[in-house]
């Protein structure tokens, strides 16, 4: 299945944490050809079940979080400017002169304004504004806006999927569209398996891994492979560890919160099958659903595989399609060849 095509479909949807229902339907539609049934649970997590061939297989959960960071409307001022706060860890430095969509009863375009150079006082010149100082300008009056949006509506950064050089792509919300794409693509490569497969897309990860806890308890998996994004190497991080050059392949995580046998199994499969990979080390909380899964079910062997992503939590998140493909290949091959070492 074409990676770019999946990414484009996902890019048309908005899924701010807590507002994932539209994306749930899109993911369900993309996954139906590759599983036996799809359900959306009470917490807006999507659970796609593919039964094992022999009927008594161990349960495997492959998971990628469904939600994206965004903002939420907190008020409309007298001049019709929209006040907001962040949902998930949005980088406040990116907000001045950003474009957004407010998802009310209508989709309303807006611009987050910034005072111009001609006017800025010397004191203000040295500080990045806080979110509370910023306003969204839609061009509408307060009365006009009240017909279209309400306090509590979600707001996303506008960003269409753009191709850069080579196989690089850029968009907002590649965290975690890149992960979702890798999982859907992996599912498309798995026809029959001994395992009882659960492809899960959990909600509200950006708010604190909320969706992962209930879904793990519901499924009670024996194995879990979480697919997310990790930090891509940029010009200003080239001498740091824990960042990965785009094009390096799948990033397999090792650390105390992850199962060492399963992590090793993944890197062994990658080596044997010529899949490009790197190893990431996290000595504590990985900041991903892997932590939630391991905490909910200590008996579940959990691994984490990530797509390198530059400029995370901005409107210009950048990834390499070949890395997404390596992640999906690694996950698919691991299911096909077995998750235990021979």
């Amino acid at each position: 299945m074409d990676t770019e095509m999946i990414l484009k479909k996902l890019a048309d949807e908005c899924s701010v944490s807590g507002f994932e229902s539209g994306m749930c339907e899109t993911v369900k539609e993309l996954m139906l050809p590759f599983c036996d049934n799809v359900k959306i649970n009470r917490f807006n997590s999507v659970i796609c079940h593919k039964k094992s061939e022999n009927g008594n297989g161990k349960k495997v959960m492959i998971e990628a979080h469904l939600d994206q960071i965004g903002m939420i409307v907190t008020g409309i001022d007298e001049m019709g400017f929209v006040k907001f706060m962040s949902v998930g860890g949005i980088d406040k430095r990116i907000l001045p002169c950003s474009e957004v969509y407010i998802l009310g009863s209508e989709k309303v375009y807006g611009v987050i304004g910034s005072k111009p150079p001609h006017i800025t006082e010397n004191a203000d010149k040295n500080k990045m504004p806080d979110i509370g100082e910023l306003l969204i300008d839609t061009g509408y009056t307060k009365a006009e806006l009240n017909e279209k949006i309400s306090v509590g509506d979600s707001i996303v950064l506008k960003s269409d999927l753009v191709k850069l050089a080579g196989e690089t792509v850029c968009s907002s919300a590649l965290d975690n569209r890149a992960g979702i794409t890798a999982v859907i693509s992996a599912a498309s490569q798995i026809e029959k398996t001994e395992y009882d497969m659960y492809y899960v897309f959990a909600s509200e990860e950006e708010l604190g891994l909320h969706g992962a806890y209930p879904v793990t308890r519901e499924i009670n998996p024996d194995y879990a492979v979480i697919v997310d994004v990790t930090h891509g190497m940029t010009d200003d991080t080239k001498s740091e560890t824990g960042v990965f050059r785009l094009g390096c392949g799948a990033v397999v995580c090792k650390g105390p919160a992850l199962n060492p046998d399963l992590s090793k199994r993944l890197t062994d499969i990658a080596k044997n099958n010529g899949i490009k990979f790197e190893t990431e080390v996290v000595s504590g909380h990985s900041g991903t659903n892997a932590w939630a899964v391991q905490k909910s079910r200590g008996t579940c062997k959990t691994a984490l595989v990530s797509v390198p992503l530059k400029y995370m939590h901005t409107a210009v998140e950048t990834a390499d399609i070949s890395d997404i493909n390596e992640v999906s290949r690694l996950v698919a091959d691991a299911i096909k060849e077995g998750l235990e070492n021979a």
């Binding site: 061009g139 509408y140 930090h231």
Partner: protein, 333 residues
């Protein structure tokens, strides 16, 4: 037309494409349309009577970026061209023709509090075009290349958002004026490099004589809650803005009064530009040759010098109406 004008790139020093576009629109309506060595476009139109000559002037260039180095890993270091604040540059998209790039820094998760509060320095920033190395990047760009903001034209309600409203809005008003016949002679000068020191205008003026000149601009509009009234400069929807003075010139009071009188008599929405900060080509036009009576009319543009400048359609219309009425009456002044 404003859509195509703003979506065509022309950073100061790289205006050829926008000059050719403007020339293609203007030529059918002029007696003479010339693109000079600076990519200025000078259009001349004889009047039906032709005793007076009016010069309209707008600049074609926009703020942007010029590449000054390619790193070993294929990132593009740059300098800003014209007044661009680095405060607005994180998470922005830029382009050179079909080649797209992004400006950003390491992810917020990798920063400490001081880094998050700090306004980035220009020499810390870089453009990422997705190249894997310097030699890969050289397939697409070289040092000295210009990049513009990658921003499309959007209309919503009365709002128009685009890059380069400063000063494609002035160019659009002038192109409208060229479409009609006037009693007075009309010269429309679409000049370059205003943002970097009025270089285009200085060149163009060597061959221009006029009785009156009106500079058509996009100007600052700080019309938001929390901004004191006296610092708003102009109000969005408050009409075409008439300047009294700026950093480089004092508007000719006689001409200013004529413009205000015409606006009042014809019910055209207008306002004063309530600040003397900033400057435009009036500073060179007014002192050219033996001096020309010069004034400036500006369309209020919020978030000027950014990829998301915003104007009110009605202010644009007021600008067209006022300049039209002035040209109708210019011969009799």
């Amino acid at each position: 037309m404003l859509k195509i004008l703003t979506e065509t790139d022309g950073v100061s020093g790289n205006e050829r494409a926008i000059a050719e576009l403007i020339s293609s629109y203007a030529t059918p309506f002029c007696d003479e349309c010339v693109i000079d060595n600076m990519s200025n476009v000078i259009c001349r139109k004889k009047g039906k009577k032709g005793d007076k000559t009016v010069l309209l002037c707008a600049h074609t260039d926009e703020v942007g970026f010029i590449i000054n180095k390619i790193t070993d890993d294929g990132y593009l270091k740059f300098e800003t061209v014209g007044g661009v604040e680095t405060k607005i540059l994180l998470s922005q998209k830029v382009r050179k023709g079909d080649i797209k790039g992004v400006i950003s820094l390491k992810a917020v998760h990798l920063t400490d509090k001081d880094e998050r509060d700090k306004i980035p320095e220009e020499n810390d920033l870089y453009i990422d075009i997705g190249a894997s190395s310097k030699s890969d990047a050289l397939n697409y760009v070289e040092v000295g290349d210009y990049f513009a903001f990658d921003s499309d034209y959007i209309e919503q309600g009365n709002m128009i958002k685009a890059k380069a409203l400063d000063d494609r809005v002035g160019c659009a008003i002038m192109l409208e004026m060229l479409k009609k016949e006037w009693d007075c002679n009309l010269i429309c000068a679409f000049v370059t490099c205003e943002e970097v020191g009025h270089i285009g205008a200085l060149t163009a003026l060597e061959n221009i004589s006029a009785d009156y000149a009106i500079i058509l601009e996009g100007t600052t509009c700080n019309d938001m809650c929390g901004v004191p009234d006296e610092k708003r400069v102009t109000k969005s929807g408050g009409g075409i803005a008439v300047s009294v003075m700026d950093y480089g010139s004092v508007a000719n009071p006689e001409l200013v009064n004529i413009l205000i009188k015409i606006a009042e008599e014809n019910g055209i929405n207008w306002q004063y530009k309530a600040s003397v900060r900033g400057g435009n080509d009036a500073r060179v036009v007014s002192v050219s040759k033996g001096g020309i009576k010069t004034a400036s009319l500006s369309v209020p543009c919020k978030y000027i010098h950014s990829p998301v400048s915003v104007m009110n359609k009605n202010d644009f219309k007021s600008g067209i109406e006022l300049v039209s009425k002035f040209l109708e009456n210019a011969e009799e002044l």
